[in-house]
Symmetry: C2
Subunit: 257 residues, 2 copies
Amino acid sequence: MPTFKLTIAYDGTNYVGWQRQAAGTSIQGLLEQALAELNGGAVAVAGAGRTDAGVHALGQVASFSLQRAIEPGTLVRALNARLPADVRALSADSVAEDFHARFRASRKTYRYRICTADVLNPFERHYAWHVPGTLDVNAMDTAARSLEGRHDFAAFAAAGATIRTTERTVMRSRVTRTKLTVESALRGGDLIAYEITGEGFLRHMVRAIAGTLVEIGRGRRPGEQMREVLSSRDRGRAGPTAPARGLFLVGVEYRDL
Amino acid sequence: MPTFKLTIAYDGTNYVGWQRQAAGTSIQGLLEQALAELNGGAVAVAGAGRTDAGVHALGQVASFSLQRAIEPGTLVRALNARLPADVRALSADSVAEDFHARFRASRKTYRYRICTADVLNPFERHYAWHVPGTLDVNAMDTAARSLEGRHDFAAFAAAGATIRTTERTVMRSRVTRTKLTVESALRGGDLIAYEITGEGFLRHMVRAIAGTLVEIGRGRRPGEQMREVLSSRDRGRAGPTAPARGLFLVGVEYRDL
């Protein structure tokens, strides 16, 4: 059966997340519905990362097989004609039948956006965590970098998750100043981005790290504590889970396609 | 009575526009409601520019008088506590009682945003006109510049408007490439911005100019036609009115405050 790798972007604000749920509209559900129409029969779609409700994607990757061959450009146009404007197919590729968006992914990159202006720009309300005041970006960046490497990330895992191992490899973990989404009249205040690239992530891991980084940036705890939290493997030692709206799945990489 | 100049930003997507209407929620109506609560009595709010439904503002200016003095910073915080997140008070100033946001404005700047990518980034869906393909930015810029100066802009006025004069002075009218709102995975395609600064504007004037500029950018008419359209004073000669969602009121300037 012809198999496809689809790259999609979505604004997660109005969705229950990537994964199909009993109630509410999911990105996976929307795609499966649009593809079933094109395919003339049910299609199972696998996603590289299970983004939660309110989390956005600039480059989520999905895989699925269809009954008939279709030119990738035609597939993109046919999907966009059926999907709402806040979910867009960006590109499609024909891939081997054993391709799987999640199992074959070698790296994923997430970005967490924090706005420190006194007043939150209305155009940022769904796309950043509003943390008014001054954050020590250097301290945050040093703490973020201390997570690079292979570690047990249990301290940053969602409570109650039953998974085989909480060890993960993080290739890159950095905090930088970035740009606002819309050129804005906002005076003062930075947009700060935390970006992390890893082989795999635990549920809520990026948001738990972002919550801990903000406590460090505010000076509520010293930057060196990041390593202590990590080695404690205790979720109670990390900061709060940062809100979903600041998180973007930026992209997914595959070693051999 | 203590009089204030208030600078506000708003995402116009969910509103009927600046001006109070019989049905639907307006920005003016929201502000008057929030101020009436603070003031303990009705407040009339004047806005510098009457943005239409779906048009956004980065720096709209409003003026009003209250029964009691209030510290400007306190006023901003009290308003933001009462306004929805897509309408934000950015700053307030105490001004002379005869200040009026519209009559005293010396210049206003609008920006019109056009996205030429094949697939429209979902984060741009409410903030740009999607014109897939290639636009000749140089031809658009030359045509835009030919509007600078004092001219009769009747060719770009909304049909049926009854106004004293259609002469207006445009200080600056330029087309440039600009940045996307959210750092994006979108491949190819530019974001093009038309920016115009003038003493005053006719209803739909910026959108009618933007519609004409896009026809020039697409090569459907030569750039020199902009001057011919202008001198014709005939709305039928100009291009279509570009969609509201691409338009931003960037800021308002006042000579002496």
